[in-house]
Subunit: 327 residues, 2 copies
């Protein structure tokens, strides 16, 4: 059994493999946007999870590559279509596909990229194909459902915490879980290990998304690199908001309703008034508690794996890296 | 070996199977449009081709159903996204999905329907899955390419006949070919038979599309049910137009350029002036010659099949039914 590869080694391996994959073909309008979005980089975390998982069982990483790349292609397809739906001008600091070309090209090129994801997955050992496809299809549907819930929440007055958690689970966590499980699946891990890796992915994904909500308001602006409280400014119903709304009395609810009804307030006023309510209701700690809880559950699933502790180390490291930003 | 099912029997069998498949799930915004577009009907020709092909080899049609339905779901997915790209208000006489709901729902619900297509295909006997998926993925990519070429042609000044034929091949013919080949593939037909059925699909698809172009201008308005010469009115570069442009002298080219540059002519004037050029250049016969040629090639591929003539009869009937409208 080989030495485990580090996360950085896996990312470098993936970047090389993706660079070497040419998406150039005719018509250019269909394929250029695919090369473009893949050239924008990103951390390649999802495909790295496929490889980490397969590596844990000593599986040949070259043979795990089609599944890993398939998941990365799928992820980029969802970004292309989500950016259309969210009317986003920028993706990773660069112009989005539908802005650089147009919406039709964003739709169709995304569709082609989705097929490319399946083409990559089909290169995996045929004996695993039915199980892999079942897992991947179910995940892809859930990702669509998550995006639809997210859009629904924009106009929905009251979003419950269970609905919110379901949304972030589907929109983010299931793809991490699918990546982890599929690496184990092709490496012939036991069903229990596959399930534990899946559940680790779900809970680390939830913890990550809750952390993201908390950092948007309470993060260090420089480290985090985004506008502070952008979620408050654009009336996004985050964990903090939902928890606040749950705990609020009539007076506090009025404040939230008032400031979340429009966008045309002075930013500083809106942020400070909403954060005042958040502080009164202690929602930062409440959400951090939820986050910690999911992190603990996630680590429990890692500990339940049948492999030796040293073989779990890369995934432990991954979890720690992912969550390092909250204190 | 059972008696062959008629086309009508297969269509009824498919309609029942599709009606029995429930797409109802949460969130409704994602799944209602899927139920809606499938309820609009259509002739179910593509899935019927899967079954006709499988039936020819005596294969159990129930086992061919997942592949057949997968192809019908894929076809409906392309309709949903094409309608967005073409900004079409109506589909089969009913409001299109993006008009009834909105563009975002059309994009996302289409994506989910695409996954549903794969979910159906994966239910096929696993031993055929790698070959089926390879065929289907390649076809799906080509359908995307065909749609992109079609959109490109709208603003492209000069479209050559080979480019046009490639576009209609990818946009229409390859899915018929894929349907036919996949039925034979799961029924364990020989590779030669699979290829002949694929080629039959390509050429019958091309013949059909060329017929469609001819009928738009020269068809009987009542039988055809569309506005006569709608393609001329909306400046569509059809086989007739491309052939005319190929054969035109400077004077005739000026007429075509003039009337295809804008939409704001009196309809009768525009149609009669363009049809005058078409008549001078005899493009109706030229295109009919191309159509007949592809029809003949298609029938040649049917005749080359290893099965008895009586087992080919349903496909012969299908070809005749498809082409009955041109004389």
């Amino acid at each position: 059994m080989s030495n485990l590869k580090s996360i950085a080694e896996l990312q470098a391996f993936l970047n090389l493999a993706i660079e070497k994959t040419s998406f150039q073909a005719e018509p250019a309008e269909l394929y250029d946007p695919i090369s473009y979005i893949l050239s924008l980089g990103g951390k390649r975390l999802r495909p790295a999870l496929v490889l980490m998982s397969a590596d844990m069982y000593g599986y040949d990483l070259v043979k795990a590559l089609p599944q890993a790349i398939g998941i990365e292609l799928f992820h980029n397809f969802t970004l292309m279509h989500d950016d259309i739906m969210d009317d986003a001008p920028l993706r990773r600091g660069k112009t989005t596909v539908h802005e650089k070309w147009d919406t039709n090209i964003g739709v169709l090129s995304g569709d082609a990229l989705f097929v490319k994801a399946y083409q990559s997955i089909v290169e995996t050992d045929p004996k695993h194909l039915p199980a892999l496809m079942e897992l991947f299809n179910q995940t892809a549907l859930e990702v669509c459902e998550g995006q639809q819930y997210d859009m629904n929440f924009e106009t929905q007055e009251n979003v419950s915490m269970p609905s919110y958690l379901k949304m972030i689970k589907f929109k983010t966590a299931v793809l991490l879980a699918c990546a982890l499980k599929s690496g184990a699946l092709i490496a012939n891990a036991s069903f229990d290990d596959q399930q534990n890796l899946y559940d680790f992915g779900i809970h680390i994904g939830l913890a990550f998304q809750l952390m993201d909500d908390i950092l948007d308001v309470y993060g260090d602006q420089i480290d985090f690199g985004k506008q502070i409280a952008g979620d408050i400014l654009c009336n996004k119903k985050t964990c903090l908001y939902i928890k606040a709304y749950e705990k609020a009395d009539d007076e506090q609810r009025k404040v939230l309703d008032y400031y979340f009804a429009h966008q045309d307030f002075i930013a500083e006023e809106k942020i400070s008034k909403v954060m005042e309510v958040y502080a009164e209701l202690d929602v930062r700690d409440a959400c951090k508690g939820m986050m910690d809880n999911h992190y603990t559950i996630a680590m429990g699933h890692l500990n339940a794996l049948s492999v030796n502790e040293d073989r779990r180390s890369t995934l432990v490291q991954f979890a720690e890296l992912l969550m390092v930003r909250v204190n």
